[in-house]
Symmetry: C2
Subunit: 464 residues, 2 copies
C-alpha cells in the first residue's frame, strides 16, 4: 500500500501546462506506457498509476518539470532504473514520475581519477568505462548491471565488496542536484578533500529523492582491483559462522564476506544444483584481494579461523573463474527465492557481533509463522537479506508475509540494528522508520525535509 | 576580525541564570581563565572575550546550557581542544564558550570493532585505546596528540594516511548531538551499514558546530596497520613532482604521499638540519603499507615513476624508525614556519592534476608580494598547506599576509578547488565561502542552518 500525505492539489493534474514546456516525446501519458512506471522490483500491488511520466533528455527539463510541479503542487517521483527493492519509486495516482533513464552520459577523467556519471547511467557501465583506464568504481550492488547511479546515490547502495571498499557515499565527491523549486546546484566536485560549508553532497546520498533530484554524480575511482582468492566454508550452526566472521575481521580485511543460511543454501540447490551440502546450517563465502603472498596468508588465516569455529567443509581456490562460480551461487539466491514464490526482500542490519542472534531470531520468526525465509547476508557488514516467501494469490499468505517482514525489522531494532542497510526505506518500510529513529530524530528529519521541500512535492510518502 | 551576525540580545548576558543550572566549577567567569578560551591555534587578534565558559562534565549540562541559550538568545561557541587552524572557536564578546574538554571517556568494543569516544577525547587517545585491542583508528591530523574527536568531527579532519584510508567522516558511524533547543539525539550507531532515514550523522560531520553540539561519536575501527616502507624523492620542479604523484596514484594506493616545496624544505633545514638538498624544488615522501613483497613492489614502482619524472635523488628505507624521521621532518614544517615569524596556515585543495598549477601560482603570489610561503601538501589528496609568513607587529605585513591568504584561496577556486580541504572554514575563511559555493548553494546552506538553528545561537559567524 502506498501511503501519501502531502500538500498537493487534488486530481486532475494540469498535464497540458507541463506538456508545453517539454520537447516532443519527453512527456508520456499513454496508459500502456505509464504501466511500466508504476513500480520498482518490489512490484507493490498497492501502487497507483502516475498522471504522466517525464523522460527527460537534459537537466533543463528536470528544472522545468520541478518548477511546474512547485507551481502546481504536483508530487514528483524521481526514478532511475526502477530496480529498487523498497518501493522508493512506487507510483500513486496523481503523481508525475520523473525518469532519469535517458541521462546516461559517462565521462572518465583518468588523471584526476573521477567519473562524471549522469543519473541514468548504469553502475555496470561506469565500472566498464573506468576499467578502460585501468581504474575501478567499487560499489557493486548485486543488481549492478541493471541499476542506475542515480538510484545508487538515492539509496546509498552497497554490495558485496563494500566490506572492504565501502558504499556509494564513500565514492561520491560531488553531485548536481535540482532542488524542489527548479534551482540547479552543484555540491562538492572532483576534489578528494573539501570541507568548505556543510557536507551537502553527503546529505543527498541516501535521501531517496526526498530532498532534490540528483542529475549527475562525480565519483571517485581507484586503481583496478587485484586478483582474488576464494574460500567457502560450511558450518553446523549460524552462531559458529557468525563467530568466524567476527574473528576474521579482527585481523584482516577480506574483500568479500558473504553468508547463506540453511534455507538459502537449499533454495539455491533447488534452483541450480552445485553440490552444496544441503545439511549445512550456514555457508560463508570469503574473498581476499590482498596482493601476492598476502592473499595466501589471508586465506590461510580464514581457513584456520573457520576450522576453529567448527567448519565441516572448506574449499579454496585461487582460480578466478572457479571463485566466480561461488559468487554466482550467492547471487543466485535472489532468483532462487523468486522461484519459490513471491518474495518480500528484507534488508536489516546489525552490529556484526549480533549477526548470529538476528539469524536465530529470523529462523524463530519463520518457524512460528510456518513461512520459509531463506536468508543471505553481507555478513562482514552485518547486513542481512531475509527473503520472505509467500503466495501473492492467497490473502492470508500475503498478510502473514507482511507480519513476518515487520517482525524481522523489529527484531533488528531490538538488537540495536536498522530496518535497512542498503536498499532504503522507500514506501515499503516508511511506516516502520519512526520505530527505529524515535520521535526526536523524526522531528529533525522533518525539519530538514521542510527546509528543502517546503511544498512536499518530492517523492512524498517514501524514504522519510 | 570576528564577524558576528545573528539574532542575539545585546549584552549583558544573564550569566547568573545559567550559573544556577550548573554544578559548581562548571561555569567559569574569572577573566584570567576566560583568556584561555578566546582563540584556537590561529590566535586571532580580533577575537573577543566570552561572557563565560561552561566546562561541562556531562551531556545533561550541554542540554541545560543550550536550553538556557535558546531561551536567552545567547551565542554558543562549542569548543574541543582549541587546536583548530581556522578560527572556528575564536570567541567574541557576549558569547558563551561551551567546552567539551572534560568529556573524555573512550570505550572500545573490540568485537563490534567500534570506539565510543566522547567529544573531548583526544584523537591520539582513541588510537591508543584501539591499539590495545589490535585495532586502529586511521584519521591522523598532524595535531593528533592534541586535537579532540569533537573537533575532528566538527571539521571532518584529515591527515597523512587519509590518501589511502579516508577522512573522519569515513569512520563516523553514529553521533550523539545536542540540538540548539537542548534536545539530545542519537543519529546512526554501531552499524557498518544503515540507510534508514536521512544520513544525519554525515550532515553533522564537518558542520563546525553550526547545527548542533556533538557530545559523543561512534567510530569505526579497522585491523592494525601493517609495516610501512618509505621512499623520499627530490625533484627539480614542482610540476615534475606533481606528475609523479598523479602517475603513482593510477596503479597503487600508497599510505602516504606528502610534498614539501623548496621554501618548506629550507624552513625545515633551518629549523632542524637533516641534510636535505636545499636546492631541490620539491620533495615527495611516500609510504606503502602493503603486505609483504607487495610493499617492495610498491616502492619499486614509486622509484621507477620518480626517476621517470626526473627525480635527482631517491632514498628508500624499510626501517620504521628511519622512515619516521622523514615523517617527523615533514611534520616539522609547522614549527619550522612558526620559527620564521607569525604564520597564516592555508588549507586549499584541488583535483590532483591541478596540484602543480596551484603550487606554481602560490610561488607567483608569494614572489609578487615578496612574502615567504613555505608549502607542504597531502599531495595524494591534492590538499596544500601554504604557510604565509608575516610579522604580526607590522601592520603592513599583516595586511599583506591577509592579501596573500586571500589570493591563494582565489587561485584554488579558479582551478576548480576549495578554500579548505580539512581545517574548516571557521571564522578565518567565512568571508570567502560564498566565492567558492555561489549564491544558490549558500541559500541552500542557510535553509538547513535555519531549520536546525532557527535562533542562530550555534557558533554564529563561523563555518557557513
Amino acid at each position: 500500500m502506498v501511503a501519501v500525505d502531502f500538500n498537493c492539489v487534488p486530481l486532475p493534474v494540469p498535464i497540458d501546462s507541463l506538456r508545453v514546456l517539454l520537447p516532443e516525446g519527453v512527456l508520456l501519458t499513454d496508459p500502456g506506457l505509464l504501466a511500466g512506471y508504476r513500480t520498482d522490483e518490489t512490484h507493490d500491488p498497492g501502487a497507483g498509476t502516475p498522471a504522466a511520466v517525464v523522460r527527460v533528455t537534459d537537466v533543463g527539463q528536470v528544472q522545468d518539470t520541478l518548477r511546474w510541479a512547485s507551481a502546481n503542487r504536483v508530487a514528483i517521483i524521481p526514478r532511475g532504473a526502477g530496480s529498487g527493492l523498497a518501493g522508493g519509486v512506487s507510483a500513486f495516482d496523481g503523481a508525475v514520475v520523473l525518469s532519469l533513464e535517458r541521462l546516461t552520459r559517462i565521462e572518465i577523467d583518468p588523471v584526476a581519477r573521477v567519473a562524471y556519471a549522469e543519473a541514468g547511467a548504469l553502475n555496470g557501465e561506469v565500472k566498464r568505462a573506468a576499467a578502460e583506464h585501468g581504474l575501478w568504481y567499487p560499489p557493486d550492488p548485486s543488481s549492478f548491471e541493471i541499476c542506475s547511479i542515480g538510484g545508487n546515490v538515492a539509496t546509498n547502495a552497497g554490495g558485496l565488496c563494500c566490506v572492504k571498499y565501502g558504499v556509494t557515499t564513500d565514492y561520491v565527491l560531488g553531485l548536481d542536484v535540482v532542488l524542489a523549486d527548479g534551482t540547479l546546484v552543484t555540491v562538492g566536485g572532483p576534489r578528494i578533500k573539501d570541507v568548505a560549508g556543510l557536507p551537502l553532497a553527503k546529505l543527498f546520498v541516501g535521501s531517496e529523492g526526498t530532498l532534490g533530484v540528483v542529475t549527475r554524480a562525480v565519483l571517485r575511482l581507484v586503481p583496478a582491483q587485484g586478483k582474488r582468492s576464494t574460500l567457502v566454508a560450511l558450518f553446523p550452526t549460524v552462531a559458529a559462522a557468525g563467530e568466524a566472521v567476527v574473528e576474521v575481521g579482527q585481523s584482516i580485511r577480506p574483500s568479500m564476506v558473504e553468508l547463506m543460511d540453511h534455507a538459502s543454501i537449499n533454495a539455491v540447490e533447488d534452483y541450480e544444483p552445485r553440490g552444496l551440502d544441503r545439511s549445512a546450517r550456514a555457508l560463508l563465502l570469503f574473498q581476499s584481494d590482498s596482493p601476492g603472498p598476502a592473499r595466501t596468508r589471508d586465506i590461510e588465516l580464514i581457513h584456520t579461523v573457520s576450522q576453529k569455529h567448527g567448519a565441516t567443509e572448506i574449499f579454496e581456490t585461487d582460480d578466478a573463474a572457479e571463485g566466480e562460480q561461488f559468487v554466482a551461487a550467492r547471487r543466485n539466491a535472489n532468483p532462487a527465492c523468486k522461484a519459490l514464490g513471491s518474495v518480500l526482500t528484507e534488508d536489516v542490519a546489525v552490529s556484526i557481533p549480533h549477526l548470529p542472534a538476528l539469524l536465530t531470531r529470523i529462523e524463530e520468526i519463520a518457524a512460528a509463522h510456518g513461512v520459509s525465509v531463506p536468508t543471505v547476508a553481507h555478513a562482514g557488514d552485518g547486513n542481512l537479506h531475509p527473503h520472505v516467501i509467500y503466495d501473492e494469490t492467497d490473502v492470508e499468505s500475503v498478510m502473514q508475509a507482511h507480519a513476518v517482514f515487520a517482525e524481522i525489522m523489529h527484531a533488528a531494532i531490538e538488537l540495536g540494528g536498522t530496518i535497512t542497510g542498503e536498499h532504503g526505506v522507500g514506501r515499503a518500510k516508511v511506516d516502520y522508520l519512526a520505530d527505529q529513529l524515535g520521535p526526536d530524530v523524526m522531528a529533525l528529519t522533518r525539519s530538514i525535509k521542510s527546509a528543502l521541500d517546503p511544498l512536499g512535492i518530492l517523492n512524498p510518502g517514501a524514504g522519510i
